[in-house]
């Protein structure tokens, strides 16, 4: 349990620094008058404060400041020279490195880009009448297939991709949608490609996960 002395000792630093309210300061003083232990602690703290004031820091000479300003000017010049001239001079040496980085990046992209949409995405309630991904148009002109997955629908709805084929309601109605139109097939293919190219790692906030 905290004693009265503990409470006073907690206030001593603020008391010495004059940061206590006048009421608290008076209470501390009254306690110090009657408690030798706390008075000794307060005296030791005051002594520490006095010692710390002379901690070895010495104001540098005016010559130091002249040199200090000059060095900052030089460092600034150096920094801007690096930004312009030196960068230009370094560019030829860095070019092969940059080329290697670009090649590596392209390789990584080719290696890591997503393949077909992973299994597990539920079919969206939205369905296209007449065609399916990978389904020859002529083979199933009237079949109802889950062409638009939850993921591709989400990507379109959220504006993350700009498909050349938007499965708007009217185009999905069997009576207005011509499954045999070459243009429609091309646009749908583009849309699907874009939707599936979006890697899973670039999942958008709130986007449903596969299988959800």
């Amino acid at each position: 349990m905290k004693t009265r002395c503990d409470g006073i000792k907690d206030l001593l630093i603020e008391y010495i620094e004059g940061e206590l309210s006048s009421g608290d300061a008076r209470a501390v003083e009254e306690h110090l008058d009657e408690c030798e232990n706390c008075a000794a602690e307060c005296a030791a703290l005051r002594r520490t404060y006095m010692l710390l004031r002379d901690d070895g820091y010495a104001e540098p000479s005016p010559f130091f400041w002249t040199r200090f300003n000059a060095r900052i000017r030089a460092r600034r010049r150096e920094a801007s020279a690096f930004g312009a001239g030196r960068w230009g001079a370094l560019a030829p040496r860095l070019a092969p490195v940059m080329a290697a980085v670009v090649c590596f990046g392209i390789g990584m992209w080719l290696g890591l880009r997503p393949g077909p949409e992973p299994a597990g995405y539920p079919a969206a309630p939205l369905r296209v009448t007449g065609m399916g991904r990978g389904t020859p148009l002529a083979a199933s002109p009237t079949a109802v297939l889950p062409v638009v997955s939850a993921r591709s629908k989400y990507l379109v709805d959220s504006g993350a991709i700009e498909p050349s084929f938007t499965p708007a309601a009217d185009t999905l109605r069997p009576e207005t949608f011509d499954p045999f139109g070459g243009e429609a097939r091309m646009r749908l293919a583009t849309f699907e490609r874009e939707a599936y190219r979006m890697p899973e790692t670039e999942r958008l906030p709130g986007e449903p996960r596969a299988g959800e």
């Binding site: 630093i13 030791a44 703290l45 002594r47 520490t48 010692l51 710390l52 002379d54 901690d55 070895g56 820091y57 010495a58 104001e59 540098p60 000479s61 130091f64 400041w65 200090f68 300003n69 060095r71 900052i72 460092r75 600034r76 920094a79």
Partner: protein
């Protein structure tokens, strides 16, 4: 030149810090010189008291100004310019401390001895060595955050609200760190009379 901790030194830069920032952003060359002249003593002092080493402090102070110049466009004026400069200086000094971890592996007495002999500041060499060396050693034992709070409060006389802004912590954290630091110093120096 009279000077308080906020930087009002009576110079143009000290009287009009907002104007100074505007001129810096506009690329006014004279504004750079004014900024350095206005704040160099405080920046160097803080760096020295965190690092307790002349050369490291000079390097940290110069780096702080270079960083201020480089990033002045990012300064949005939500805090005062001196708070921002303090923040940059303290961060640089604390990073230097972290990088120089090996210093902590060397016996403290050796560090103090080496630093003092290596000091390029004659006035510093003349200061009572025993007390200063003991303070050096005591400050070296403070964890980084306590050290920063201690320097900013005890020597720079910033309020805990200002320190909280500089260090990105709460006022309560600043107070707690300060009290711990003072009590540690009191213990470490109690045998000095």
């Amino acid at each position: 030149m009279s000077q308080d901790v906020r930087g009002e030194t009576g110079t143009r830069a000290g009287r009009d810090p907002e104007g100074l920032v505007k001129r810096l952003k506009a690329g006014d060359e004279r504004a750079y010189e004014e900024l350095v002249t206005e704040y160099r003593e405080r920046v160097y002092r803080v760096a020295w008291r965190v690092l307790r080493d002349d050369d490291a402090a000079e390097d940290a102070a110069q780096e702080a100004f270079i960083r201020v110049f480089r990033h002045i466009d990012r300064f949005e004026g939500r805090s005062s310019i001196y708070t921002w400069i303090y923040r940059i200086t303290v961060n640089i000094a604390l990073n230097k401390l972290k990088r120089d971890r090996f210093r902590r592996m060397v016996p403290l007495g050796d560090i103090v001895h080496r630093d003092r002999r290596a000091s390029s500041n004659p006035a510093r060499l003349a200061i009572s060595s025993e007390v200063a060396e003991r303070i050096d050693a005591a400050v070296q034992t403070l964890p980084e955050k306590q050290r920063a709070v201690f320097v900013l409060k005890f020597y720079e006389e910033l309020s805990h609200a200002e320190i909280a802004e500089v260090l990105g912590c709460s006022e309560g954290t600043s107070k707690a760190n300060y009290f711990h630091a003072i009590r540690k110093m009191r213990k470490q120096l109690e045998d000095l009379r």
